[in-house]
Amino acid sequence: MKSAVVVFPGSNRERDMVAALEKVGGHRPAVVWHGDHDLPKVDLIVIPGGFSYGDYLRSGAIAAREPIMDAIRREAERGVAVLGVCNGFQILCEAGLLPGVLMRNAGLKFICKEVKLRVETTDSAFTARYDKGAVIRSPVAHGDGNYRADDETLARLKGEDRIAFRYVGNPNGSIDDIAGILSEKRNVLGMMPHPENLIEPLNGGLDGRPLFESLLAA
């Protein structure tokens, strides 16, 4: 399986993501700079964490309006898997690939800690290797992770089984404890926690691995 990690000015967890994909999958992903209009043909596109454009204006807002996002949108429509983690999730929401927004944490502070997540659906290429209802560990590191959506959107997400992960012990005030959601076609996942930082014993656990194993086996 081929993958690409898209880097915007201010992305800063791209190296973590590249390392995770390489360590789990055995192949080094392509690293695509935002100014490159041609996305290589891949099976997985990842938008990593960070502070694209400094989070100045609004987290993810500037990156979401870049030409490369049109290319990513086209690939997503073709069914290519797209994973947005942290700032990547914010960008996907701002770009309209996923519904809702991510606001300032309810506690108004940046939070870096390990949290627990419940796997709410295994019906996706991202979560197939987990057990439904399993509680897994994952680090979070964000200031704007408070997921918000209107009632109608929330009802749809629930009704269509598109909530991928919920927090067990909500760290940021997200509505309905939402930590990650899927697109309608279930090939786009946005999540605030960082599975790429929990893939080897050094990180204190391996709970992030199944996500990459699911994807890379697909």
Binding site: P9, N12, R15, G54, F110, C112, H194
Partner: protein, 737 residues
Amino acid sequence: MLPNDTPITPELVASHGLKPDEYQRILDLIGRTPTLTELGIFSAMWNEHCSYKSSKKWLRTLPTTGPRVICGPGENAGVVDIDDGEAIVFKMESHNHPSFIEPYQGAATGVGGILRDVFTMGARPIAAMNALRFGAADHPKTRHLVSGVVSGVGGYGNSFGVPTVGGEVNFHPRYNGNILVNAFAAGLARADRIFYSKAEGVGLPVVYLGSKTGRDGVGGATMASAEFDESIEEKRPTVQVGDPFSEKLLLEACLELMATGAVIAIQDMGAAGLTCSAVEMGAKGDLGIELDLDKVPCREEGMSAYEMMLSESQERMLMVLRPEQEAEAEAIFRKFGLDFAIVGYTTDDLRFRILRHGDVVADLPIKDLGDQAPEYDRPFARKPPLAKLAAEDVAEPNDYAAALLKIVGSPDMASRRWVWEQYDHLIQGNTAQRPGGDAAVVRVEGHEKKALAFSLDVSPRYCEADPFEGGKQAIAECWRNLTAVGAEPLAATDNLNFGNPEKPEIMGQFVGAIEGIGAACRALDFPIVSGNVSLYNETSGVGILPTPAIGGVGLLPDLSVMATVAFKQAGDVVLLIGEAGTHLGQSIYLREILGREEGAPPPVDLTTERRAGDLVRGLIRGGEVTACHDVSDGGLAATLAEMAMAGGIGAAIRLPEGIAAKHAYLFGEDQARYVMTARPDGVTAIEAAAAAAGVAVTRLGTVGGTDLAIADIAAISVAKLTEAHENWFPAFMAGEL
């Protein structure tokens, strides 16, 4: 804005922080009255912050070399060999005055500055730490300052993308008017690809890179070299504004450019910006520099030469490049959306010449500005050492459990989780030991097992009581913390924070601390490879506690035998390595329980320190140790409590027979000691190794249960300890205390 030919009055000279004799030296040197720009340049180069004029004589006495030292003090950061052709590049620097005036930006730009120092040398930053010292917890400004500084440190480091893995936070009334923000950064480089500031070659382009120049921070270094008074709020415009987004781009652009081989010399623009960076590159290379300020990218219109030369706008670099690679270099910077401008040339006349609108606005001898700046041998007075406080002159607690509970929940001892959860300590995916242990451990990228350990340490109350012993202790504790995770301590950086050096008693503290640091570094083979001096930390005549903060780096070849502080397994045997506790002078117990700050601090016997540390490191590396923690603030009782809380499991402890002073045994802060645990079948071997090394070892008890139970003295549940330990900081910041 004053014109360049403004008459130079004694008042103007004084407002630039130059003393009359220093001004006379300028007149003698250039043989005429300086222009306004020239006066600004002299004030920028000759202030304490940039010139080290009061400290140089003493800094030279520190050991700075060793088999692993690739580059010692004098460059942007120290460089140390970590085998496999790799090097660690690190330094610590203060941003005290700006952080007191504007805590968020002051702390943020402190972090930005130290990161820049590290990547200027060609290293990718892999770890940051910071040593923070605030006024008393009940002082009205303290919460505001803690909140601003912590979010500033996080705001910059998190966005830049470096894990902030450790540090110190302390409170004391002597920092009420002058907090300390000391930022440490370390980066990884190839040992044969280190970049330096020394320019080489005549007629080569001097290139300006990074962000544009604005009016922010004009005169910052001069401000940082003076005492504070009530007018401090007026100094707010001298604080710079940080932009971590630009810094991250600057990092990537610099590393990419360095890989092309185009860079001859590089210097970041920190204190005194363009002036200091250009002078340093020229003076070190025995070259002159000519700058045309019309070419400098500016954020604002109509800036004068004076303002441009003294601006401390952030995220800027100066380089000397190979002319044939100019276009290649420019393309890299354009790709990242950063400014790139040729602003001058190196010359062979040893002059620092500045042009603005076609006029020469400054023309000065570059060596006298830089490496031949003034140097003072300031008078100093040593304070007679305080008498040792006998244990029998210190009251025992009525209730040992209550005393321990109070200690683990006191401002200086409580958990710093509230702080470090605001710092991204996991980014880069290599954090092997998170904040809260003896030392942070970060794996070296590209290796499975090789890692580096980092620790920041100093006990200012010891330094105040006895600068020499306190200086020794700061080094010894840092060395001990690195040892306690199993690392071989390699080298250190020092951040020397003191009051006004023109006062002989302050200079006496400085001299004593340096002598202590030097003695300990020599005894422990732990050279100082970089550092920073921050003097004039006084407000309205009240000086801070002398605070020589030490940042140490250690090498851990095999992560699989790294030790952590947490108790692991019921049945493990608890051992004290080192002598029994006896010393209560300047202890946390004395201060927190009895409200006294008295007596001599615990002496550091460097031979014993080394012997105990080498033993402990060997045992950890032999895989015989299941947990290890050094004994420091709060003594043995606090050490045991911290190990129990970290592991969520208790221990049954029994003091040896015939202990005369139980409170000194439990709370004494005698040095060169560790607590470790081992499986029962491994204890005999440990005892034999200790005996062979001539180090005392005592069986204290076994791990297990839900209480920390000290037979016939105290039993306290680990849950209760944890509650007291974890609750203080959040409650304090919420204003609930």
